[in-house]
Every structure is written in structure tokens, then in C-alpha cells.
Symmetry: C2
Subunit: 159 residues, 2 copies
């Protein structure tokens, strides 16, 4: 669907995301995964629930992501995962202004995530996630590169 979008729709969406969206990368703890942690990338657009028709309209346009009506009277459409986020960011990139640096960082994270060689390489990618967090001023962030490093040190018996 994304390659059928017209330029005006893409630039509108870039403007909306610059104004009221988020592009995010997070380190999440997945104990059964190879490196015990994984990088989660996402794009979210927000709107008040009384205008959730707008969120539905954007979903109909993109045909990707999940709609959620939150308890605080906000609705959101979230696109999660390396492939859909990469596809959407690639077409948005030429039009983004405010969030262009984050989009570039997240694209770099995705490209690296797809070919992680070892723990040191994974930690390098985590550092890029720390950089994203500096842009987004994430306050409640718990899992940083330092957190993962300490985890590896304290669980050195794990492969």
C-alpha cells in the first residue's frame, strides 16, 4: 500500500508526525532472545478520541499498524517493527523537518539490527538508541546501554 501513496499524502503525514507524532527506538528485555534484549522501533500518531475518525483515516491510507483507544481520551495508531517502520520512514524522510534527525537514526538502528554479529555490536546499536532518547527527551527510560552492559557483566555465565 505504501508505494501507492501520493506525494501530498506523504508530505501531509510528515507534517502531522512532526507536529503530533513520535518516532521511537527502545531497548526491551526479552529473556528468550539471543542477546536478552531487543530493539523495538515504532512510529505513532496521536489524536483525541473524539476525533478518532482521523486515526482510522490514516490507518485506511497506510493499511499498517494498530489502533488503540487509550483510557485518557487519546487515540493512537502505532506501527511497530523493523520492516514496516523502515518502509514508512523511507518514504517520509524527504518531507520530515523536525523529526528528520530521529528518522535517520532509527533507519540506521534498523539496518544495524538486521545484522548484529555479537554482544559488542548489539551494545553499539544500543548507543544509537540512547541518542534517539536524547532527541525525544524520554524521562522514564529505564533500559539504557549502561543497563544492558551491567546485565551482561552480572550474568556472564549466560551466552
Amino acid at each position: 500500500m505504501l508505494n501507492k501513496l501520493i506525494k501530498e499524502d506523504i508530505s501531509y503525514l510528515a507534517g502531522y508526525i512532526d507536529g503530533n507524532g513520535s518516532i521511537l527506538a527502545q531497548i526491551v528485555y526479552i529473556p528468550e532472545s539471543k542477546y536478552k534484549f531487543q530493539i523495538r522501533v515504532s512510529i505513532t500518531i496521536f489524536q483525541k478520541s473524539n476525533k478518532s475518525w482521523f486515526i482510522q483515516q490514516i490507518y485506511n491510507l497506510l493499511k499498517i499498524g494498530t489502533i488503540r483507544n487509550r483510557s485518557d481520551n487519546m487515540s493512537e495508531l502505532t506501527i511497530v517493527g523493523n520492516t514496516p517502520v523502515k518502509n514508512l520512514l523511507t518514504i517520509l524522510l524527504p518531507y520530515l523537518k523536525i523529526k528528520k534527525p530521529i528518522a535517520n537514526l532509527v533507519l540506521k538502528i534498523i539496518d544495524n539490527s538486521l545484522q548484529i554479529k555479537d554482544r559488542n555490536h548489539f551494545l553499539e546499536v544500543c548507543k544509537l538508541v540512547d541518542e534517539v532518547a536524547e532527541h525525544t527527551e524520554s524521562r522514564k527510560r529505564k533500559i539504557t546501554t549502561e543497563y544492558v552492559e551491567n546485565y551482561y557483566k552480572n550474568n556472564s555465565f549466560l551466552n
Copy 2:
């Protein structure tokens, strides 16, 4: 300048305004004016002051409006007045989604404002301003149609 904008710039701006802008109509008390009140229409875009380069960039694109760096670490570009607001809304209208109904109302207000015949006609236009306020959920609004009507009743000695 506005007629030199390319479609992608206009649709980007529509997306940004839908996400983080405002389109407004207000009744303001101007005792020296013919009807003692006037309608003030405006378009504003907001961004945190640490990204005020963005506000400057939009100003450079439009070449209209006034930049203000507020004390609460927000910067804004505001376009005020019938002619500039009408010109900008007219080109944004095909691309606006969330704020399209407000844009249509404000355009109707501007067209009426330019040819007000008497106090009753002015009060009719004030009612359109009340409608805009319903969309924007303005809480601290003091001057409504009712307020102007009461003012006229209590000051009937005025022409």
C-alpha cells in the same frame, strides 16, 4: 509568496497545523470601532523554543506572520487578519483534515466580516465565532455573542 508554494509544502503545513497548530476566531473589544467589537481571525503554529529554527523556516516559506518566543519555552508563528488568513486558509483547505470544518467556518466569518451591514448582522457573525469556539474547546472565552448582545442592550444610547 503564498502562490509560489509547491503542493508538498502546502500539504506538509496542513498536516503540521492539524497536528500542532490552531485556527481561531475571537471577538475582541475595540471601543473605537463601529460595532465596539471586532472579529479577530488567526492561524498559529507552535513548537518548543529549542526548535525555534522550525518556526523561522516556516516564516521564511510563507513570509507572513509574527514570530513570538513565549516565556514557557514555546515559540509560535501567528498570522492575524482577514486578508492573510483568508489567503493562507484558501490554499490549505484542500489538504486540511481535522481542522477543515474550522477553516471553512473562519473563511465564512471573514467573507461576512468584510460586508457587515448593521449590529444584527454583526451578531450573526459573532454566532459563527461561537461555533468555532465549540470546535476549539476554548475554556477561558469571555466575549461571546451573548456578551456582545448584552453590551448593546446596556449601552443602547450608543450608535
